[in-house]
């Protein structure tokens, strides 16, 4: 369920108007940013990525138009919504809004009721669709987990953790124990699936690859505490 609080950017060259809208929006629980010109506005769009932009069209029609174009360059799938603020009549505002490609308009003077009704109506539109086709630069990651090495033999070591492995794969372990035994560079491979210990805890046998006789000697020295 999407959060009710939205991120909203007010773009208006009149500081009083900005302050007024800011106050209204904050009291509705939203996160608000302000810009007095289109340059600052575009910088903020890229930094905070608002759900909604309230854009004063008296900013001068051409620069307003350009700004919308720039926003669409950043937001090519038209997810950020733009409401045009204007002092024109309703009909003229509709036409202009269509011409500029905004998602609606607000006619000045804007009161609390108009603003909250408009935002309520837009509700579902102010939710960005879930990202599924994520670029590998963001989607690929390494996950690090806490575990414990409980036992070691001359060919394998047992890792106890909350992961139940069901594939053969390489694994990387940071362990003071392995370091002590000069095994920190040893390749570790999971060749068998994990076994249940208790619900949520699993033992995984990990093969120690490429041990030389020094490594083996050191492991055998642990013989005092056979398990």
């Amino acid at each position: 369920m999407a959060r009710k609080s939205k991120v909203i950017l007010i773009v208006d060259d009149d500081p009083d108007m900005r302050a007024y809208l800011n106050k209204l929006l904050i009291s509705m629980g939203h996160e608000v940013y302000e810009a007095g010109n289109t340059r600052t506005a575009l910088k903020l769009v890229q930094e905070v990525v608002p759900h909604l932009i309230l854009l004063d069209i008296n900013l001068d029609e051409e620069s307003g138009f350009n700004m919308i174009g720039q926003v669409r360059k950043f937001d090519q799938y038209h997810r950020i919504k733009i409401l045009m603020i204007s002092s024109l009549s309703s009909k003229k505002a509709i036409d202009l809004s269509k011409k500029l490609g905004t998602d609606g308009y607000l006619i000045k003077p804007i009161n609390n009721t108009t603003l909250s009704t408009t935002l309520k109506k837009m509700g579902p539109e102010l939710v960005f669709p879930e990202a599924r086709n994520i670029h590998s630069e963001y989607s690929q990651l390494t996950a690090r987990f806490l575990g414990s090495l409980t036992k070691i033999s001359e060919v394998s070591v047992i890792l106890r953790s909350k992961i139940k492995f069901q594939e053969k794969r390489k694994i990387f372990i940071e362990s003071p124990f392995l370091k002590k035994f000069d095994l920190e560079k040893t390749q570790l491979i999971i060749q068998e699936f994990s076994k249940d210990v208790t619900p949520g805890t699993y033992d995984t046998k990990i093969q120690l690859i490429g041990l030389n006789d020094n490594n083996l000697k050191n492991i055998r020295k642990l013989n005092t505490r056979k398990v």
């Binding site: 950043f74 990202a131 599924r132 630069e137 987990f145 070691i152 047992i158 490429g210 398990v227």
Partner: protein, 229 residues
């Protein structure tokens, strides 16, 4: 279950004989060659599941590596390759593994070790050869381990990660990449992906702890193309 076939190459015939004896004892079908020229024709005719390759063959020091490389190039990754050597060197082992070997054993050959490794790599159950386990001292047992994962989807409430392996609910997971920079999350829910047999891990975004990630997450959401219809 049919016997697994092992092919050994060592220029020392005594070693070949010893290995064949050990393998026969443990129910493996085995052959050996001592000359490089004979090796590949034997691979083609005998079709081994696993090869044991001496790294230091005759005059050609290091030809063992070449054999491993050629095997990987010509035959692929299906055949398991274990290399053996008298030398103790870490560099040798690393080189062999990089060339594509699956494992390394040091001579003189320990029967238990070689059989244990064969059993593991060939998925063979063998209750006879079990190595004793020694306890890791409790003070030293804590460790961290890393595996690569992928984000399947994200929105402003949660990040969903896909994993081939089951990760229990409640696990603490630290995620590393450029934008997530070692942030910690708790797995709040795990669901099975019936199609692939993998799992979806749901990580809830805490507004206080993860609030600063939200602008980047919104940016990713804004930039991600819609799914094709």
């Amino acid at each position: 279950m049919s016997q697994k076939r092992i092919l050994t190459i060592d220029d020392d015939e005594d070693i070949n004989l010893l290995v064949r004896k050990i393998l026969k004892k443990h129910d493996f079908e085995s052959e050996s060659v001592s000359k490089i020229e004979d090796f590949f024709s034997k691979v083609v005719s005998f079709k081994p599941h696993l090869c044991i390759v001496d790294l230091n063959l005759g005059d050609h020091d290091g030809f063992g590596y070449k054999i491993v490389e050629m095997m990987r190039k010509k035959i692929g990754n299906e055949v398991v390759i274990i290399v053996m050597s008298r030398r103790n060197s870490e560099a040798d082992i690393k080189r062999a593994l990089e060339a594509g070997a699956n494992d390394y054993i040091q001579k003189p050959i320990d029967e238990n070790i070689i059989i244990a490794k064969l059993n593991v790599f060939l998925d063979k159950e063998d209750d006879e050869v079990q190595f004793p386990f020694y306890a890791v001292p409790t003070g030293d047992s804590e460790c961290y381990f890393k595996i690569p994962l992928n984000i399947y989807s994200m929105n402003e409430e949660q990040i969903t990660i896909y994993s081939n392996n089951y990760i229990a609910k409640g696990s603490l997971i630290e995620l590393h990449n450029d934008f997530l920079a070692s942030r910690k999350f708790t797995v709040s829910n795990v669901s099975l992906d019936r199609e692939s047999g993998g799992y979806f891990l749901h990580l809830i975004l805490d507004p206080i702890e993860h609030g600063d990630l939200l602008p980047t997450i919104r940016r990713i959401m804004v930039k991600s193309p819609p799914l094709a219809e």
